[in-house]
């Protein structure tokens, strides 16, 4: 496959590109879903092809084909360069690429049990079995899903990179829906679409869906008659899964350098962050330490090299509450005058690599969920995301959770339905006064991060743990 990528790069350069790179990607995907004790869907997809990126002057071009013969590869390289020339009809400022080490290497993600080698029958039994358990427990709609991605990449650049990677990712989840008079209540485990990692089937076994099926079915039904989350301002404790969503939406996307530079203004949006304030802006309380670390074993945003050939390396994003870093690629880093990149990925051979989150998450704090509840006189504990909405600058958010519990005088009280909270990112993070420690820190995986035009689906990881926030507006309803 290196030969195909090399052919494409050489063709792009011969056509006039001053830089070119190519990725041959072979992707296999498998998922199975079940509902109410019956198999709902088995999807198996396979795609292979080559995508070529060419730089002419200050303008990029990209072309991809699903054929892997030499002629197709050459045509892809030539087309990428031709498209780059057309981009110069509306040219931008001078463009440099951050210098990175040129590597010839091979990398594979850790995988104890190949998920595609586990029998379909066994995997079917798992998702069918847990939905049957939930359905028998009384919920009208019980669903479960697993997903597996197996991606091999061969990357070649005109600078001399020659890197192959084999990344295996998988995960599973389940949810159920109780339907009442005019409303529904949902419970999930471990998260609505499941929890995912760069790991083998051991990730799914460790999730242990069967152990939680009856519990979430009972909770969904109980929520139908639980009191409504009150409207007002109170202290909020968020569970780890909801914290992963909070980090993803109000930190991860906000620190993407392409957004900060305005390159996503037409669609995904921009950011409330101004590069001139990097290193001087308070993002949150001193408990807030966020890193982007693609080297975390098993986390969904892990890799050996990004799709520009930059080796994986951790990077501080927020240190002691101060904003100190971004997620960058070679061109955006050079534009911003930064000396690091490494966060550029594509979701397949046919898509242009772009700035994406890696594993963006919190470092551990000194507290625990138990100590937070004990220290709270009046508040609400919310967990498991149900809805999420945030503005195009990543400041104003409103998130809903599946379940809440009243906290009174340091004790968890009655269940609350439809808990929501809303806030402004930097004010919200500044109010974080308790953060759980390493024993409650978990690498949550988000397999459905949408960005780009044409759209791409990114896989991101989020180390997160429970945290407490003070004086939060809750209970907004329609």
């Amino acid at each position: 496959m290196f030969d195909v990528a090399t052919e494409a790069v050489e063709a792009a350069v011969a056509a006039g590109a001053r830089y070119a790179d190519a990725r041959v990607k072979h992707q296999r995907y498998e998922s199975m879903s079940a509902q109410n004790g019956a198999l709902e869907d088995l999807t198996q997809r396979e795609a292979i092809g080559v995508g070529v990126r060419a730089l002419v002057g200050s303008s990029w071009g990209f072309f991809a084909v699903g054929d892997l013969d030499d002629a197709a590869a050459r045509r892809a390289g030539e087309q990428a360069t031709a498209i780059a020339r057309a981009s110069a009809v509306v040219p931008g400022p001078d463009l440099d690429l951050l210098e990175i080490p040129v590597r010839q290497d091979s990398w594979a993600s850790p995988c104890a049990e190949d998920p595609l080698s586990v029998s379909l029958a066994d995997k079917g039994d798992l998702v069918v079995g847990v939905t049957d358990t939930m359905h028998r427990a009384g919920v009208p709609l019980a669903s479960a899903l697993y997903q597996v991605w197996d991606t091999r990449t061969w990357f070649v650049s005109s600078e001399g990179h020659r890197i192959d990677q084999h990344i295996r990712e998988c995960g599973a989840g389940m949810h159920c829906l109780a339907i009442g008079e005019g409303s529904t209540q949902r419970r999930s485990y471990p998260a609505f679409r499941g929890d995912y990692g760069t790991a083998g089937w051991e990730q799914v076994r460790a999730t242990d869906l069967p152990a939680h099926a009856e519990r979430i079915a009972a909770e969904a039904q109980a929520l139908l008659t639980a009191p409504q989350c009150p409207a007002g301002t109170t202290d909020v404790i968020l569970g780890g899964e909801q914290m992963s969503l909070q980090i993803h939406e109000s930190v991860g996307h906000a620190v993407e350098l392409d957004r900060i530079l305005g390159w996503e203004a037409g669609y995904a949006g921009t950011s409330w962050l101004d590069l001139a304030q990097l290193g001087r802006l308070r993002y949150g309380s001193e408990l807030m330490n966020v890193t982007a670390d693609p080297t975390l074993p098993g986390a969904l945003g892990s890799f050996g090299y990004d799709d520009e050939g930059t080796p994986a390396a951790p990077n501080d994003i927020v240190r002691d509450g101060m904003w100190v870093g971004v997620l960058a690629g070679r061109d955006s880093a050079a534009r911003a005058g930064l000396d690091y990149a490494g966060a550029v990925r594509s979701d397949g051979y046919a898509r242009l690599p772009m700035v994406r989150m890696t594993n963006v998450g919190l470092l551990a704090g000194p507290d625990s969920l138990e100590s937070m509840i004990a220290a709270t006189d009046d508040g609400i504990f919310m967990e498991h995301n149900r809805s999420w909405s945030i503005d195009d600058k990543r400041r104003n958010f409103q998130f809903g959770c599946e379940i809440g519990w009243e906290i009174k005088n340091g004790e968890r009280g009655r269940m609350l339905r439809n808990p929501t909270y809303t806030g402004i990112g930097p004010q919200f993070w500044a109010s974080m006064d308790m953060l759980a420690g390493e024993s409650e820190r978990r690498f949550w995986g988000t397999p459905n991060c949408g960005k780009g035009q044409p759209g791409q689906v990114g896989h991101t990881g989020h180390p997160a743990m429970p945290a407490r926030f003070r004086n939060v507006r809750v209970g907004v309803t329609g």
Binding site: I48, F62, V65, I83, L141, W263, N396, T420, G478
Partner: protein, 448 residues
């Protein structure tokens, strides 16, 4: 080989490998090109060509499907073998609805040859015109073209093929304090007027620079096409969906007057502006499908599986992955009304350009939260007042369109790029008017 040749070959391969097996094959040959710009320069410019082969087999009461992008004899044989291997491991599929019977297409698909072969220079020229017309404002957006040549064949004898093209432009002009947006879409790149759209976006942006804050509360609103497209999408994703109805989580009650009589919603791939294929993922020919007529829910999109569960017939809205997501229409139209100037009748309210990042809090009540984007203006005494800073809403989409709640529908319709749903291989279109609604629940502003 043409997509029709490939589809026929796969049906034959299945028959040879597993006599008696039922097979359904969709082959899609796609070229997609998108020229993206920001800060008034083209920063991403991409194109890709792909063949996609989707196969579903049904053997001995079991069903399996698989997808690949290889069309060589070896690749097709491997796809057939792996799908047949998978089907043997599946449990019985008791709700398998059978294959679509042979039927001829009602529409041929809309095709523009120049768009099908558009070079990057042609898209760049549209971008150049948009940026120039914005006269110094920073511009960001995209211009795209696409072509799909697709064929479907099954072992029951159904064999159809068609080709479609699409073109779209969506972009903002930015002042630094405000954004203005303009969009258009259709089957031909030549119909996209970059200059007109750039000027319109710039005018909106300049008109929105000085913004005031508004307190939360209920406001009468005039929703422009971008915001209306979000409402329509919400109805289709969560409620007007056969699977949602089967599962009991939909608001929709066929035959009930659930919306204002000004609301008529339908799917029409026979429309000359349609960019969707004229058949669905199960090979059923599309025809005009009425969903809401004068406020009465008259139908929901079905594939063969959900239709069977409801005791009706497919509405030709099957999509890949529909087992999980349900059925979706491809060429959605909200009927125009008679209003020439919806703002003129509003004593005090809001003019909303777009909604952004909308998410359902409950699928049954269809309460959504989201924000405004690309401009909001206060309406006072029938005229536009000051621009308003970003607002958050929490509002039931069904209630917003309930009987008596729709005070006006514009006579002009607008084509919104992107469609509303994961349509069967290819493209889709969405054409909607502006709406004047009696009440919209604003629950916060940019400050919280």
């Amino acid at each position: 080989m043409t997509p029709a040749d490939i589809a026929a070959q796969v049906v034959e391969l299945v028959a040879a490998a597993q006599p008696g097996a039922e097979a359904a094959v969709t082959v899609s040959r796609e070229t997609s090109a998108l020229t993206r710009f920001a800060e008034s320069f083209i920063h991403q410019n991409v194109a890709d060509e792909a063949d996609v082969v989707m196969l579903q087999v049904h053997v001995d009461g079991r069903t399996a499907s698989a997808q690949g992008n290889g069309t060589s004899a070896e690749a097709l044989t491997r796809l057939v073998e792996s799908t047949l291997a998978a089907v043997a491991l599946r449990p019985a599929d008791s709700s398998y609805p059978g294959l679509a019977e042979p039927a001829t297409l009602v529409a041929a698909g809309n095709w523009d040859g120049a768009t099908a072969t558009a070079e990057p220079d042609a898209r760049a020229a549209v971008v150049r015109a948009f940026v120039d017309a914005a006269a110094g404002l920073s511009c960001a957006g995209y211009c795209q073209t696409g072509r799909v040549e697709a064929a479907f064949a099954n072992s029951a004898g159904q064999a159809v093929s068609a080709r479609v093209t699409e073109a779209g432009l969506s972009a903002v002009a930015r002042t630094g304090r405000s954004d203005g947006v303009a969009r258009d879409a259709g089957i031909a790149l030549s119909a996209l007027d970059g200059h007109r759209l750039g000027a319109a976006a710039a005018a909106k942006a300049r008109n929105g620079m000085e913004q005031v804050d508004l307190p939360p509360g209920r406001y009468e609103v005039v929703l422009e096409a971008g915001a209306v497209s979000d409402l329509v999408g919400g109805l289709l994703w969560q409620g007007l969906n056969g699977k949602a109805v089967v599962e009991g989580r939909s608001f929709a009650q066929v035959g009930a007057q659930q919306f204002d009589q000004a609301i008529t919603l339908y799917d029409d791939s026979t429309d000359e502006r349609a960019t969707g294929l004229p058949f669905d993922a199960e090979g059923t020919p599309k025809q005009r499908l009425e969903l809401v007529a004068a406020g009465v829910v008259t139908g929901v999109p079905h594939d063969r599986r959900t239709a069977a569960a409801c005791g009706t017939t497919s509405t030709a809205c099957a999509v890949p992955g529909g087992e999980r997501w349900g059925a979706f229409p491809s060429d959605v139209r909200l009927a125009a009304g008679t209003g020439d100037d919806l703002v003129a009748g509003v004593e005090r309210g809001l003019l909303v350009t777009d909604f952004w990042y909308t998410r359902a809090l409950d699928p049954r009540t269809l309460v959504y939260t989201g924000l405004t984007r690309n401009g909001v203006w206060l309406i006072e005494n029938g005229g536009l007042g000051p621009a308003v800073s970003t607002l958050r809403f929490t509002q039931s989409y069904v209630d917003a369109l309930a009987p008596g709640a729709v005070l006006g529908v514009s006579s002009q319709q607008y084509s919104v790029p992107g469609g509303v749903a994961p349509v069967a291989r290819g493209t889709g279109s969405l054409v909607v008017p502006s709406l004047r609604l009696a009440s919209w629940n604003i629950t916060g502003g940019a400050a919280g």
